[in-house]
Amino acid sequence: MSVRVGVVTFPGSCDDRDALRAIELVGGEPAQLWHADDHLHAADAVIVPGGFSYGDYLRPGALAARSPVMRAIVRHAGDGGPVLGICNGFQVLTEAGLLPGVLRPNTGLRFRCHDVGLRVQRPSPWLPQREPGDLLEIPMKHHDGCYFADPATLAELDRYGQVLLRYEPNPNGSVAAIACVTSREGNVAGLMPHPEHAVDPLLGSADGRVLLAGLLGLARTPAAA
């Protein structure tokens, strides 16, 4: 069954078109979602893409998190539907309360764009055919990618195995080098690096296909989460 993956476009989204193209490359059926719609055009899975929704004004993701389409995405996630937040999308999902923690300015206080190593922490349907210890190489490009959560939250993340990837090396001061977290149920995931920019070796890496394949897999068998 071909999985219908909705990619949200907020005003200020930049990587939505790349995400749509990447989904096609990994065999999904891309569908555009509009920030002002309160439904998901029958999407089985959702990507909240990168960019600068609402100009990153106030706090990255803060204004997008309050847009109509997010209500539909919260319902979708509540029903166990898979959702992947990339970069600004990760920020949106934390602001919307779908993922724990918050993304703050890089401790270097500068935007940084370069490839970064991501160490797999545990087996997960988000990372098909990858084992703990494996290293993914995926580009990142952000100013506000420093993941922060208070000690209690961090303890929970560990207890429920919600940390999928850690940076190696840590490029932005994220606590415990956390690069990718999931919701406790496991069907919502977010990361700052850009899998959709890493689907073609000609452009440097195809490691991003792993997470996109994971998204499709979760849509086929939600229970897997």
């Binding site: 790349d18 193209r21 935007f111 490009k141 959709e196 920019h197 000609l202």
Partner: protein, 721 residues
Amino acid sequence: MNVASPQPLHRSLGLTDEEYSRIGEAIGREPNDFELAVFSLLWSEHCGYKHSRRLLGRFPTSGPAVLQGPGENAGVIDVGDGLAVALKVESHNHPSAVEPFQGAATGVGGILRDIFAMGARPIAILDSLRFGELESPEQRQLFGRVVEGVGHYGNCVGVANVGGEVEFEAPYEHNCLVNAMCVGLLDAGRLQSAGAAGAGNLLVLYGSRTGRDGIGGASVLASQGFDEDSAGKRPSVQIGDPFTGKKLIECTLALIDAGLVAALQDLGAAGLASSTAEMASAGGVGLDVDLSRVPLREPDMEPFEIMISESQERMAAIVEPERWPEVEALCARWDMDATVIGEVTGGGRLRVLFEGEPVGDLPVAALTDGCPRYDLERTRPARLAGPCRFPPVSDPTAALRTLLGSPGIASRRWITRQYDQLVGSGTVVRPGGDAAVVRLTPSARAIAVSLDGNGRRTWLHPRRGGMSAVCEAARNVACTGARPAAVTNCLNFGNPEHPEVAYELAEAIEGMALACEALDLPVVSGNVSLYNEHAGHPIQPTPVVGVVGVLEDADLAVSAAFRETGDVVLLAGNGPAALDGSEYQKRLLGEVAGEIPEPDLDAERALHGFLAAAAAAGLLQSAHDISSGGLAVALAESAILGGVGVDAPAAEWLFDEGEGRVVISARAGNVPALVELAGSLPLRELGAVGGDRIVAGAAVIDLSDATGRYESAIPELMGDR
């Protein structure tokens, strides 16, 4: 009108008495203040090119691939597969000197609008920067803020920044240069034009509301010398809003997809004044504009303020009345204010109303074509001299170490990593080498693009400097395997009313034109920035050249990085080179003097052809052009980028700089084929890739040491590691 001054208004607006009387003749009466303000802006150098237009006529501008030459918002060339690219570079020097972050950001915003006004989706930004020496804390601050501003706008609108250049020289200390280039992609059949047409069609303004931003920006900031009293210019700072800029891009492209706009024009320098005049002039029609309909951000703005405001993120479109409802709806979908502010008339006049009253009535032709065009009095600068004599390089190893760590040569990664180089998922070759390569997805084709200039070389010999800028930009593109296809350029010079500056300008243009002719490169767009001086001292003459080239197959793109141990390293071409004006002369001998050698344009052309053929045949592992720092630095850079050493004992004339030379590497088995391809083009074996040292003739340095110096020089100066 609030220009308080003892002298007559026209003079305080920068118009000569002679120009003032010409205006009177052109409109057959005394202009009112509003009309005078409009004339003063459209007849400024910035909008009217009154000192440079005649010289620009020297450029070759046509060619089989040219779909749009100079005259529109940007030039456009056909790149095959039914695709075309729009390209243009523009300066934002003076605004950046006043407010570095906003000046640089709005510079990027402005060039983006020129590109999508052509109906193209912006896919690449490049920036060319000049500052004083980085030893000065003020210059480091300025440099840092400008880079942040360039990154801020480009990152937020989601257009990849794939290249550019930066140099640090004392003459730019009080007059930095910020030139931004943009390349856009469109279907070859879908060019937009600024030409208004069809009496009765509507003039629609959409995007941000209008405030007092940049009032007088064009005339005050861009057309007068820049000196002490920047305080007086402060209120006219323009603030960029990349969020609205991004919506403007998507909304505009959607309007074009839906076929809703008959003509498009961005609002840039001189705001509505220049946009309405340009649209009417390009279409050979007239326009009636009602300023009271323009949505304002601030209460009670005067008509002239509304007319010349440089508020950012605004576009003007010509729309057929029956299409207006759809236009309004589409703009609303993107949360964009759109307002009908006037209509096209037959008359050929620009008539401006405010609250029912006419405030100006001007013949369009007088505003645009009527702009005076001056010939410049030129004097050959006394400083121009013959070649220097140089003592032999005493310690090549020490020299190479010094050069790799000098701001003029060290890695630019500190800059480029602050830019999103990847959005669009097309960046095949990222910044760091010569030209960047961007795939035109979904086509297999790619473009290579480079932006280069060299004020030091042009200062030593304006004509050869002009040639050199074109040769270097084209050679950078050729190194990727692409065929250089078209040129855009920005001419950054001092005050052209000084005969020595006029000489520099005319000679540099002549050199650029000669090189473009020899390399078959049409100049399709550009921009001129004059009056770059401080306290009577001009900047180094700085023509900045952008070249776009075409690769049939993105998979065959070649990078500057050495790849595999055992690959043979060769020197292709042996154009004339010397230490005059070189980084070596500046850093190790502490002077910039002499005469740069005359580039061999035929050899340059042959070299580019060889590189394209070799890449197409898959014979090249790497190709890196020899420029600043000479052969030794080129070898070191390819090694550092590839993370592998090189052993090139046969390298000589290590630090000489000149055109027409490239370091390539190839699998040993492919060398005979390369020799065959090269024909009469000199091809010399220098050594092989491998090891953990860089051996360039007598200069020997550990790869790790070289990498450390090269990568850390600028981060250390800028205080972050």
